[in-house]
Symmetry: C2
Subunit: 383 residues, 2 copies
């Protein structure tokens, strides 16, 4: 098994019919969720914000094709009805069912469809590669590939599936992640670990802006195996989320390359993250990566506009990794080896490393290149 | 005359030789300047920040092709030498000469070239359409068109030339504006008016990110005509800057359309501007405008991530202007007339109007669509 079904106590199933998918995962345990920071939050997120406080779930139902966002009171009632459908098939209380939606904004859920699909997949719930694959596929919208991650430790495992790929035509909610562990983790600790992992991984992926109306990450701990220390668990969860986040970045619309921006020497982690995100999200940096053009000036200029204090005369900057690693600027002095940098930028993964020499903060962000294909996907679509 | 030479006391000249241009403007008077907020500031900006405090200039020299940015101490000395060259030909003190540079980052100025070009154009200084046109052309980098603006009031005029068009290959400093008035305006008042006008116009243009390393706007008041009230002068200066800012937006790289985003009902002007800029700069909004796709969900989602508090259930939103104006959302209820909206989005100028119903703040921002051409220009360039 590649992901969630490798975690003890997790069963999954899914179905995809044209644009409409439904994933059902059964797993009882402590649970936490992290939500988009967008002021406009889809109905299922509004409902979950209340419900997740109790800290326990028996399963999660996720539909794709309709985001149930910007749908007012009816949307909230629909999200609640979706919990009811899940509860019916899982044999539990609706308050113990997590729901999420991803797809078109401003349309109402097709509840009869969801009920029918749930009836089809509930009997298929299983702890198998088929189950996790069907679930991962069911939540995809414009994603080109399923996203699975699995981190095995001696006494427990952490795994996840997710969908990503940028907000898209005709308006897609971006990121939904379902994370599971068989470790025994109290709800409070789970919440802390999840919040930290998401902020260091999913929140550092820049495809085409910030968080969408529907971004949500759930984590459920079935608790049937070991009880790791808080640090050990948090580390494993972050590792799992990092793997998924990188998969989201490389699956950005029209993307051909993964961009990894490592910033160190910032005043603190928060500023390091801000610089890293600004560089990873800069259209000029993204197009330069696409064209394998070692335009280091664009990277420095992007870093400069992130609103973080540093002295340009002390900055150091490298392109590439390992044998490809080429110094471009050393303590403010241009030492660019453009030929080597160009070679590094031809790789499928392009790494930029910045040392701001202004403190101890460090952070990594991920993005993807900007291609004609992105414009085509997002511009040529007709509602 | 179309711009600066319509202002009494202003003479202009310019030359462009391949990628290297030089503009010289003679105008004595009170002067102010506003600089980029980028942490990385080009050498001429560092020099001007000190010099402009005295509040008087006799002329300005601007070169294009080399940004003199990220050039350390030598860059500063070069900027100072450039003041000296200007002073020599204008017959004044170097401290009374403004300088700016735009072009490639990380290269040193070619001072012999600047001296030679200055020798060629100084004798051509004139109050004529040829003069202002040559100056406006000389400062262009990847701009496709010259940018002129002129606002005539009964007792004074305000005019400007500028270059814009996004930071570009292989790393261009973006915006340089030279503004002139024949009104009598004390230096302090000039500074206040310029700061306000720039923040409401140039700082609300989003082509592909934020401010570059070289953004600078000068304003010189020759004082040979009327003495308007502070409000009257500030209004005229803002009008002039707004005209230039819109020209910068529509001349964005690869752009085919101007996007105007009007936000009202925000908690304050600052938040209104933040929402307007976020919408105007969203790649999804930009590609939707390119494809004339009335994807209103993208606009609401972009507004939601601007970090400004509002209630999505009270938002109203329109696409288009005048007869084309189509309501899409009214107080949170979707009323989208997609056919009409699509027609409005086929125009050369696409207006989005958002009422957040959360206060009295309003602001307008400008941007341009995102096209395959942008990717081509910025991705296909090879250093």
């Amino acid at each position: 098994m590649r992901s969630i079904c490798a975690v003890e106590g997790v069963e999954a199933a899914g179905i995809k019919e044209k644009k409409y998918g439904l994933a059902l995962v059964r797993a009882s345990g402590t649970a936490a969720a992290v939500f988009t920071s967008n002021r406009v939050r889809a109905a299922p997120l509004q409902l979950m914000q209340e419900r997740i406080r109790k800290g326990r779930l028996d399963g999660i139902l996720v539909n794709s094709g309709c985001a149930n966002a910007f749908t007012g009171r009816r949307g909230l009632a629909d999200a609640e009805a979706m919990c009811g459908i899940g509860a019916e098939y899982l044999g539990t209380d609706p308050e113990r069912v997590g729901v999420a939606s991803t797809g078109v904004i401003g349309r109402y859920l097709d509840l009869p469809l969801i009920r029918r699909q749930c009836g089809v997949i509930a009997p298929r719930l299983s702890r198998s590669e088929d189950g996790e694959t069907a679930a991962a596929r069911a939540i995809m919208t414009t994603d080109l590939v399923e996203k699975h991650a699995l981190v095995r430790k001696r006494t427990f495992a952490v795994a996840g599936i997710c969908k990503g790929s940028g907000m898209i035509a005709p308006n897609m909610g971006t990121m939904v992640a379902l994370l599971y562990t068989d470790a025994r983790v109290p709800a409070g600790q789970l919440r802390t670990a999840l919040r930290s992992a998401v902020s260091r991984t999913f929140n550092r992926v820049v495809v085409d802006g910030d968080e969408s109306t529907n971004d949500i990450a759930f984590c459920t701990a079935t608790g049937v195996r070991g009880k790791p220390s808080p640090d050990e668990f948090a580390g494993a969860l972050e590792e799992c989320c990092r793997s998924l986040a990188r998969q989201v970045a490389i699956d950005g619309e029209g993307a051909t390359k993964l961009i990894e921006v490592k910033v160190r020497g910032a005043p603190d982690e928060r500023s390091a993250a801000r610089v890293a995100r600004t560089v990873a999200g800069s259209p000029l940096v993204k197009t330069a990566v696409y064209g394998a053009d070692p335009n280091w000036g664009r990277i420095i200029a992007a870093a400069g506009r992130a609103g973080v204090a540093f002295d340009p005369d002390r900055v150091s900057f490298w392109v590439g990794e390992g044998k490809m690693r080429a110094p471009m600027v050393q303590e403010g002095v241009i030492v660019a080896d453009l030929k080597r940098a160009k070679a590094a930028m031809r790789e499928k993964q392009v790494t930029f490393e910045l040392d701001l020499a202004a403190g101890e903060g460090e952070a990594t962000a991920w993005g993807c290149d900007l291609t004609e294909k992105y414009v085509e996907i997002n511009g040529r679509y007709t509602t």
